[in-house]
Amino acid sequence: QKEVEQDPGPLSVPEGAIVSLNCTYSNSAFQYFMWYRQYSRKGPELLMYTYSSGNKEDGRFTAQVDKSSKYISLFIRDSQPSDSATYLCSCYSNYQLIWGAGTKLIIKP
């Protein structure tokens, strides 16, 4: 079992839809949780991070962590074609980030 599981997709939704991206993790010691966005042929860029359980909102993006179920979510409201990218979740542990496989998201105009 991988420490961080993420469905690779692709996930295709129409423009304007609410997108839900999810990961599960196995190590209850993880405290910091990150979401990165990666456009094709580019390096990943940090979107958001959360500490412990709870929600964090930044514009159209909301990150949510439920430590009781070891579940990480990223919600995108009013999705735009420019949101089409691969979204990677990660958990911080001992100088390292443990990565999910990434979900490829396609927003159809």
């Binding site: 990150m34 390096g43 911080y92 100088y95 990565w99 496989a101």
Partner: protein, 110 residues
């Protein structure tokens, strides 16, 4: 502000040739540095990380090596490339839990 540079952006090398990829960070001191490889359509595989000059930890046994000759310089090397070394190589830096990535080097081994 902090900046991370990687070069070259793309590289095509024959099997058995040597490799040297360089990464430098500006605007921060004593960062943790990382080398990742990403195969097409796959997630990030951590290859090496360094918490200080001359301190290298290897995560995956392979024919690659890394060195950190200066505080903000990280080099990925190979003496003889294999076909399986093809991929997208990413350098990253951090001073806490967030990591920040460079633009990457796309390596094709033929």
């Amino acid at each position: 502000s902090q900046t991370i540079h990687q070069w070259p952006a793309t590289l095509v090398q024959p099997v058995g040739s040597p490799l040297s990829l360089e990464c430098t960070v500006e605007g921060t001191s004593n960062p943790n540095l990382y080398w990742y490889r990403q195969a097409a359509g796959r997630g990030l595989q951590l290859l090496f990380y360094s918490v200080g000059i001359g301190q290298i930890s290897s995560e995956v046994p392979q024919n690659l090596s890394a060195s950190r000759p200066q505080d903000r310089q990280f080099i990925l090397s190979s003496k003889k490339l294999l076909l399986s070394d093809s991929g997208f190589y990413l350098c990253a830096w951090s001073v806490s839990y967030e990591q920040f990535f460079g633009p990457g080097t796309r390596l094709t081994v033929l």
